[in-house]
Amino acid sequence: MNQKENNEENTMEIEQVQKQEVKVAPGTLLVKEKDIVAPGERLAQGFEILPGMGTYREKEHIVAGRLGLVMLDGRTIKLIPLSGRYLPKKHDSIIAKVVDVNMNGWRLETNSPYQAMLSIKEATAQFIERGADLTQFYEIGDYIICKIVNVTSQKLVDVTMRGPGLRKLKNGRVIEVAANKVPRIIGKQGSMVTMVKDATKCNIIVGQNGLIWIEGQPENELMAVQSIKKIQEESHMSGLTERIKAHLEKNAAKSE
């Protein structure tokens, strides 16, 4: 491809397209659903379409405010992130790692720019005596699945271990995926992750923060890891469920 010629052609094309936009009717979409758009790209013209998450209005245009995938929600156009670090949110279940134990509880890494605090009060359903050795509950290096109970404006994060399914994770391995892929990896009502669990006979817990715990026989674990990586890479393409199903069947789980 001759970049030099292309550059000139592109300039002319842009000018033509911009001229065309003026003649188009108001409230018009300039992109389709599932299009990938870059920051600064014009998405819609007119005032009938509303700017949703990841977009902003500039005079008569709605413009992309990030790299993302176009999604239409009624009259609102929004962008699904394709990447980006996790931001702790209230009510999220996350997999966190203990990095410090002090008088008040445990400090945790959350795979985000912000650490979280697990206070003694929230640590377990049991009563913990003052002055007890906290490391008997959770030690540095432990992975736990916990729930975020509060995030302040300064991004101080509090979590709890009191709730169904919340516990220390023993054995297995923890892998990292892009946090914005988590919904795809879980699937509608857990359908995708259940499919992987069944095919690989592994225990799998997916944290909203992009950390995933997998436990099973070594070869099955590897297959689960590879399947999850595949979901991550192809998450924005259609027909994902069928492709993953085919992938799992092809590498059928070896029985224990």
Binding site: G141, N171, P218, E219, L222
Partner: protein, 258 residues
Amino acid sequence: MNTGEKEHIMKLLQFNLRLDGRKPIEFRKPLKVETNVIKTAEGSARVTIGETVVLAGIKVEVMEPFPDTPNQGSIMVGVELLPMSNPDFELGPPGIQAIELARVVDRGIRESKCLDFGKLCIIPGERVWNIVIDICPINDSGNLFDAAALAAVAALKSMTFPKQTDGKIEYKEKTNKKLELSDLPISVTVLKIGDLFVLDPCTEEEPVASGRLTACSLSDGTLCALQKGGDEPLSAEDIMAMVDLSVAKAKELRKLIP
């Protein structure tokens, strides 16, 4: 360090598997060495081992020889662990990790005698070449030792001298004169995890190793440099076994250099 991760890695190794499904002595793919990738350098190479990518570039200078070696030129190896390549690397002058890497790569080249320093002499006692090899990782996904050493040797082999008149270098005028190395010293690092030996560690495996041995060898298997790393001691049997693995793998890697 998360002991759970170490136990998990060791458990996988019992099944002859690693975190990414490789066998213990398997190198990642792609595995390649490209030379002449940087036109401003007198010699250059890019080494790719899986996702680890390292650049090496050579710039030459003319200087007065050191007093104790009036008829010999010199080489200098520098490593800059660029923060771009690894979230744990910080800006600033080379730390101990970069210094160890540079010195181990340097020893492998210098002690191998593959380079005749006498050939770097221009005017005895007055003027000699100084060859400076700078190594910069682009992405560090583990095993910088081997990637850096391989890049340095490949860059040296492909290097051409620029024109030099009366001590002044015309960098833009290249000659056909090469270094003519007598051999290619190749470094391969072996890690001990639990009771097993592993080659080409990835990022997660490096902190989990109890012992590490980097061995640099020539084509006939002669060793020209050794460096033991890691917190735990190694037995003599361990070392001999690790050397064997290193020399065998070095023979394969040597073929990759164009």
